[in-house]
Amino acid sequence: MAKSYSEPELLKPRTRHLEAYFLLAPALVFLGLFFLYPVIWLISTSVTNYDPITGTARSIALSHYRQVISSAAVWRSILNTAYFSIVYIPLTLLAAGAVAVLLRRRVISRPFLKAIFCSPCLIPAVGAALIWRAAYMPYRGSIDLVLRILGFEHGPGWAGWLAEPYLAMPCIALMCVWRDTGFFALILLSALGRIPQATYDLARVDGASKSQTFAFVTLPMCLGTLGLCLIMLIINVQNVFQEIYVMTEDGGPANWTVNLGFLVHRRVYFDGDWGRAAALSVVLFAVTVVVILLQNRLLNKRLDWS
C-alpha cells in the first residue's frame, strides 16, 4: 500500500501502530474470545479425558485420535457425508450455472426472478427443513399427494422418503440444493457479467461456435468464481447439521443420515464424552482447512495465466 505523504509529519510510527490496534481491539476481543479460544480449548481438551460433570481432566495423549481413526462410526459418517456431497455439490453447481446463464439472457422481469430464486436461502434453514419434512411425509405429504395425482401410488409398507435408508440422505441433499441454488446462481451471474465483450468478439472473429465459445471462453473466465463456489459448498457440507436435526431427528434410518457434524453433536449430548467429541471436532476442522488450502493452491496455479 502506498504510504501517504503527510503521515510522517503528523504522527510517529509507533503512535500509528497503537491507533491501528486500538481500532482493532473490540473485534479482536470478540473473535479471540468466541472463536480462537474455543478452537484452542477444543485442541487442548482432545488430548484429555475431560469429564463435563466434575470438570476434571487428565492427559491421555493422542488416544482419542487413535480411536477416531479406528472407529467404525466415524468412517460411516464420513461415507454419509460423501454420499451427501455427491448429490449436493454437482446438482447445486449445475442448477446454479443453468439459472445464471438463463438469467444472463434478456428475460423479462429479471429482478423479480432474482427475488424468487433467492427467497429459499433467506428463510431460516430450520424452517426450510420443516417445510420439506412435511412435504416428504408418507401418503399424505404433498409430494406423495402430487405423485398420486400423477398416477404413482405407494404400497402399504411405505414409511416415507426420509425413512428409506438409501433415500433419506439424497432427500436431505435435495432440500439443500433447493435452498442454495439461488445464492450460487447470483454469484455466478455476477461473474458472467464481468467477462469483457472483447473476449467474445475475438472468439467470433476466430470462428468459434457457440458451444466452443462456452467451453473455451465463458467457462475458463468463470473458473475463479467456480472455485470459490466449490469452497463455499464444501463449507456448507461441513455445516450440515440442523437439516438432519430437524428432518430425521436422530440420524436415522439406522444411522444413514449421521454425518460428521451430527456425530460430534451426538458425542456431546448423548454420550457425554467431551474428550472424544473434541478430537472429532479438531479432525473435522482440520479436514475443512486442508481441503480449502489445497483447492486454493490448485486454483491459483490454474489462474495465473488469465
Binding site: A2, F30, L31, R106, V126, L130, A135, T288
Partner: protein, 291 residues
C-alpha cells in the same frame, strides 16, 4: 468497487428465445413449489393431513372428535420468540457493523506488525464448521455466567469474520487523499472513520447491516447451544425445537407456525430487496478478491 469502462458481454436479443424464457420460469416454479406445498398443508383440516400418518404409527383410526376439534395454536411462544429475535438481530447487526467497520478500516488503511497473521485469523473464522463450536461456546457462556440469557445470544455472534472482511474490502476503495485531508482538518481517528470514511461507503454499510440482521435471525445451531428456557428462544430456535418441544402438534399446525415465522423475514426481503440482492452478490465478489 472498481467501475470498469470495459463493455461487458451481453448476448444479442435474438438468443433470448422463447424456450430459455420458458426454462427460467420453470426453474422459478420449482423454486416456489415447496412454499406452495407449505400453504397447501397449512390450510387442510387436520384430519386429512394426519389421519394416515396417525394410523401408520398407532394402527388405530384417528378418533372422530380429534378430527373435528378445532385446535388453537398458542401464539404466545411465537410472540415471545419474535420479540427476542428482533432484539437480538438488531443489536447484533448494529454492534457488528460498528465493530467490523473499525477493524475493516484498520486492515484497509493502516500498516502495523502482525497484520497478515491477524487477517488470517479473520479468514479462518469464516471456514470453521459451526457444529464444533457448540460444546466450547456452551462451556464458555456458563463460565461467563451469561448462559441462557439474551446476552448469550448476542455477544458470541455479533462480530463475524465475514463482516470484517467485507468492510475491509469496501473501505479499501476510499482514496487515501480523502482520509489524509480529513486528518489535516483536525479530525481524530474516530472522526475520520465515522464522519468521512463510513459516509462515503454507506451502501456497503447498509448492505452489511441487512445481511447481519438476516443471518442472525436465521441462525439456529449455536444459539440453540447457549440457550435453554423457552422464554429466551428466538424464532429460529423455536422452529428447530418445534418437533421436540411441542409433541401434540399436527403438520398443518406446524406449517401455520412456520408461515407466521417466515412472514416478517419475507416482508423484510420484499422491502429491502435491493440491498439483500446486492449483499448476496457481494459475498461472492468480495471473497474472490485477492488479498
Amino acid at each position: 468497487m472498481v467501475v470498469s469502462a470495459q463493455r461487458t458481454h451481453r448476448p444479442a436479443r435474438r438468443t433470448g428465445r422463447w424456450w430459455s424464457a420458458a426454462l427460467i420460469w420453470l426453474f422459478a416454479a420449482i423454486t416456489l413449489l415447496p412454499f406452495v406445498f407449505m400453504i397447501w398443508t397449512a390450510q387442510k383440516p387436520r384430519s386429512r393431513v394426519d389421519a394416515a400418518y396417525y394410523y401408520l404409527l398407532t394402527k388405530r383410526q384417528l378418533p372422530e372428535e380429534a378430527v373435528r376439534r378445532e385446535v388453537q395454536v398458542d401464539p404466545r411462544p411465537l410472540r415471545v420468540a419474535a420479540r427476542n429475535s428482533m432484539v437480538v438481530s438488531l443489536t447484533c447487526a448494529l454492534l457488528g457493523v460498528v465493530i467490523s467497520s473499525m477493524a475493516g478500516y484498520a486492515f484497509a488503511k493502516k500498516q502495523f506488525p502482525g497484520k497478515a497473521a491477524l487477517f488470517d485469523l479473520v479468514l479462518a473464522s469464516m471456514a470453521v464448521p459451526t457444529v464444533i463450536l457448540m460444546m466450547p461456546l456452551f462451556r464458555l457462556t456458563v463460565a461467563m455466567r451469561i448462559y441462557d440469557t439474551i446476552l448469550a445470544l448476542i455477544l458470541p455472534f455479533c462480530v463475524t469474520g465475514f463482516g470484517i472482511f467485507y468492510m475491509r474490502h469496501a473501505i479499501s476503495a476510499v482514496p487515501d487523499g480523502l482520509i489524509d485531508s480529513a486528518r489535516l482538518d483536525g479530525l481524530s481517528e474516530f472522526g475520520v472513520l465515522f464522519r468521512v470514511v463510513l459516509p462515503s461507503v454507506w451502501p456497503s454499510v447498509v448492505t452489511l447491516t441487512v445481511l447481519q440482521f438476516i443471518s442472525t435471525w436465521n441462525s439456529f445451531v449455536l444459539p440453540y447451544a447457549v440457550v435453554d428456557s423457552a422464554e429466551n428462544y428466538t424464532v429460529a430456535i423455536l422452529l428447530g425445537r418445534l418437533m421436540a418441544d411441542f409433541r401434540g402438534l399436527m403438520w398443518n399446525d406446524i406449517m401455520i407456525i412456520v408461515i407466521s415465522a417466515l412472514l416478517p423475514i419475507m416482508l423484510a426481503f420484499v422491502l429491502l430487496n435491493r440491498w439483500v440482492l446486492r449483499g448476496l452478490t457481494a459475498i461472492g465478489d468480495e471473497r474472490r478478491s485477492p488479498r
